[in-house]
């Protein structure tokens, strides 16, 4: 552990200026991921700028019918919000499927998006890992990789993104609002996280010093009819083996609108556009669900211990679509 300085930000632009000017400064949210990393020796910031007192803790309605979630809203509060539960149940369920009550009370929206992979090798500084130490190698590719990616991985990194919330946001066409030294920019949730490519150390499109200020959800009628299903090794308090966030509207036996994202399969929440395309307009039948899953998983590549994720992702998607089509949430 490296000694560090701690400051409490009073306004957003000076927080951005402070961190941007200091190559070893970071923002601090609830600290439930960052502080662990400092203890484990994965992160060595010299300056922590605490952003939890900034005025970003509200959930507001937008004129176009969507909502704006402040970056500092705690996961528990977001999951319990009435509008979210009614209009975006998949988001509430995803949040409640993550971590534990105590952690969700502390964890913030921005921190949750930026939590880092749970790859065991990433968390152990005594072994090689390209994400932690670029160029050192990937211990997971030939190691124990039951939890690792089947889609979009590279020969540099096969880690998966651990957030449940982010999977729901990817399905919901959310937008991440970011403040930098040049002002605000907006990044779609689907593009916010990256695939590893040859820069495994970079999880997202965020630049150093950029502060997440909010996440916006569009008015999305299909979202009212959505679920999150998380397959995990125990009934609570475990990261997803595979998860599915899905919203579905069926009219006269045909798929009218659909949104799908997978968790636990890739370096980022995996928006399943191919599956959506196969479903849109098609009859809402088991066979079509299976075909949609196959279309999405056609390029899946398995490692030594994670081949089960292909049937698991396929089955889970089928189960979720069936449940939504039958009217269950």
């Amino acid at each position: 552990m490296t000694p560090f300085a701690y400051e409490r930000a009073t306004d957003a632009s000076s927080a951005v200026a402070r961190v941007a000017a200091h190559p070893n400064a970071v923002f601090l949210g609830g600290g439930t991921n960052l502080v662990d990393h400092m203890k484990l020796g994965i992160a060595h910031p010299q300056l922590l700028v605490d952003v939890t007192r900034l005025p970003f803790s509200k959930i507001e309605s937008l004129p176009d019918g969507g909502i704006r979630v402040g970056a500092g809203v705690r996961n528990s509060d977001l999951a319990a919000d009435r509008t979210v539960r009614e209009r975006y149940p998949v988001l509430s369920q995803a949040l409640l499927g993550g971590a534990s009550g105590q952690l969700r009370n502390l964890a913030t929206t921005a921190g949750n998006l930026l939590q880092r992979t749970r790859c065991a090798y990433f968390q152990d500084v005594t072994v090689p890992c390209n994400k932690r130490t670029p160029g050192s190698g990937c211990s997971a590719i030939d190691g124990h990789n039951r939890d690792h990616a089947i889609l979009g991985a590279s020969d540099q990194c096969v880690a998966v993104h651990p957030s449940d919330m982010a999977v729901a946001l990817a399905a919901l066409d959310a937008t991440v609002v970011v403040l930098g030294r040049q002002g605000e920019r907006r990044i779609s949730a689907v593009d916010f996280h990256r695939l590893p490519g040859d820069a495994a150390q970079r999880d997202s499109m965020l630049e150093h010093g950029e502060l997440i200020v909010a996440v916006e959800l569009p008015a999305l009628p299909v979202a009212a009819h959505s679920v999150y299903y998380k397959v995990r090794d125990r009934a609570s308090y475990a990261f997803a083996l595979v998860s599915v966030a899905a919203a579905l509207e069926v009219r006269s036996g045909r798929v009218h609108d659909v949104r799908i994202a997978f968790g636990g399969v890739a370096h980022k929440p995996w928006r399943a556009r191919r599956a959506e395309a196969a479903l849109r307009g098609a009859p809402a039948t088991e066979e079509v669900y299976g075909r949609a899953a196959d279309a999405e998983l056609a390029d899946a590549k398995v490692l030594k211990h994670n081949a089960f994720k292909i049937p698991l992702a396929r089955n889970t998607l089928r189960m979720v679509l069936r449940q939504l089509a039958q009217g269950g949430r």
């Binding site: 490296t2 152990d124 190691g143 397959v231």
Partner: protein
Amino acid sequence: MQMIEPRAMGTPLQRIDGAAKIMGTAPYAFEHRLERPTYLHPVQSTIARGRILKIDTRAAESLEGVIAVITHETAARLASDENKELWVLQSAKVHFRGQFIAAVIAQTPESARAGADRIAVEYEAARHDVSFSGGRKDLYAPKTVNAGYPTDTNQGDAETAFERAEVKVDSTYTTPMEHNSPMEPHTTIAIWESPKLTLYDSTQSVHSVRTTVAKSLGLKVDQVRVVSPYVGGGFGSKGEPHAHNILAALAALRVPGRPVKFALTRQQMFCLAGYRTPTIQRFRLGATRDGRLTSIIHDVVELTSRFKEFAEQTAVPTRLMYASPNRRTRHRLAALDLPKPSWMRAPGETPGMFAGEVAMDELAVACGLDPVELRVRNEPERNPESDNPWGNRHLLECLREGARRFAWSERDPRPRQRSDRGWLIGSGVASSTYPRYVLLGSRATIRCGERGQYTVRIGAADLGTGTWTTLTQIAADALQCPVEAVHLEIGDTEQPNATVAGGSSGISSWGWAIVAAAQELRRLHGARPAAGAEASAQTPKGADDETFAQHSFGAQFAEVRVNTLTGEVRLSRMLGVFSAGRIINPRLARSQLIGGMTMGLSMALHEESVVDERFGHVINHDFAGYHIAANADVTDMDAVWLDEVDDRSTPMGSRGIGEIGIVGAAAAIANAVYHATGTRIRNLPITPDKLVT
């Protein structure tokens, strides 16, 4: 045997230390308030075998707050290398990855940790071998297995009888490496005030820590004091001192007069505090068509560390569970460059009964018999190994009582018959057993105070199990006084010797010493002893110990739901029925037994330490990676017991309940998964990847 009359015993007295624990005033090892503490953080080897060439401590020593660094070159010399696990910082050799190779003593925990990060080590690495498999050419037979049992046994001609059997089961079962994982980490505060060393420790036995540490350091036993009033779980991993005790003592020698506080991190507990060996168990059962066993063969392969042997007694329960004229059991070990395995949650019985009881389920299926009935048909009249009569064997009563309560007779024996909204439902049963152990060597002292009060002293341990409460109840009945009149003192070597809280022997051994001391008090001082009167006595040897086979038994029933699409397994209902002699405190007993069953659930579905063979250590070394059953996994679980007083076992009529709850639990769940799905999973844990198709 002269039994004591139960007045307090059998009542559900609340924990007498409960309020203090809830208010946070019961001091656990790390929490003892001491003046001017220092903090220790270790450096661990990052190779699994080889030697240290150079260790550069200058950057650490110059860091603000760092007081001293100790390495194998600078630490005090130890006196005895008899226990190689405790030969800490004495040589440049590295035996396993994660071994202590240096430690930083500092003014704050943060500076100790920062100092440890700054120590540079150069190694000469040798090729390590941590690859565990049944096909290894170098498997060997240990002299004996844990608790002194013979390595192999042979009765009749098991191989031939198996070959000729009408019905055969020949299956191989595996259990993974598992870690004890008590909530409270292994912790020691060590203070050297020449010539005395004091350790505030988290241990299952203050006295064995004292004798072991004294020997290791070359001190006289009475130079060492160990204090451990409260312990947050041990599950075997605190049954003997580990390297951290010695490291803390070595550090204390370096900073005389100042307490050195040392708590292992969770990650460190995965290489420095013991674990259960993985097992590969080939089980062969031969039977007649109507399900009478003609042959039992149990071949076990497990591992030990290369530098010190530990051989789990996995096949031992197979020697007594069922009748068969032919029987062979065998243990073989692979010696690897890993830390030393040790006792964990019913060593031997837990993995052995997983394999044995799933094999029995497979035999029941092969014979077309109900699994309860199969066990009834193979009930041995006497101990099959020693031929001694049973002290109190009530396995069949447990099975029958459990079957009645669980509505077993309504079960359709065919697999894959019941489902509910996409979840298959199945149920399973397994037997459970654990030996009755009474260890010799404990001594209790009783002193009369004013107004009929008694002070009872014995250096016993409460791991969270309830010793404070149950020993008070036993003392009250032994002294024929109310529990309020008993002032119990445990957890300190200032009190008379007590044997380890292990092998489910604690309450039997310590309680009997208290009963003996009460009898001695009355013998010396009459029925109404005056204030100041004192007596002391040791646990005596039981008259029936050699002539009767004394064991506890039980039956575990489990119902599971298995998601047809995702392969997720959830336990929906579980019942354990146990025969364990008198239950001294039903409230605490229920919590012990349910705790054991929960560990069995955890073993069945979750727990697995994954060793990366390239590096040589456990990579999922935290609680996000190493799954233990959490609240949501434990739903409708109940434990009951037969109303029983064992007058051959102890004067309290008890036999010990610490471990039996876990035994057989994983098998019952695995059998239920088979019944739900028709798929037999023989490799624990049963995770979704093994069931999804």
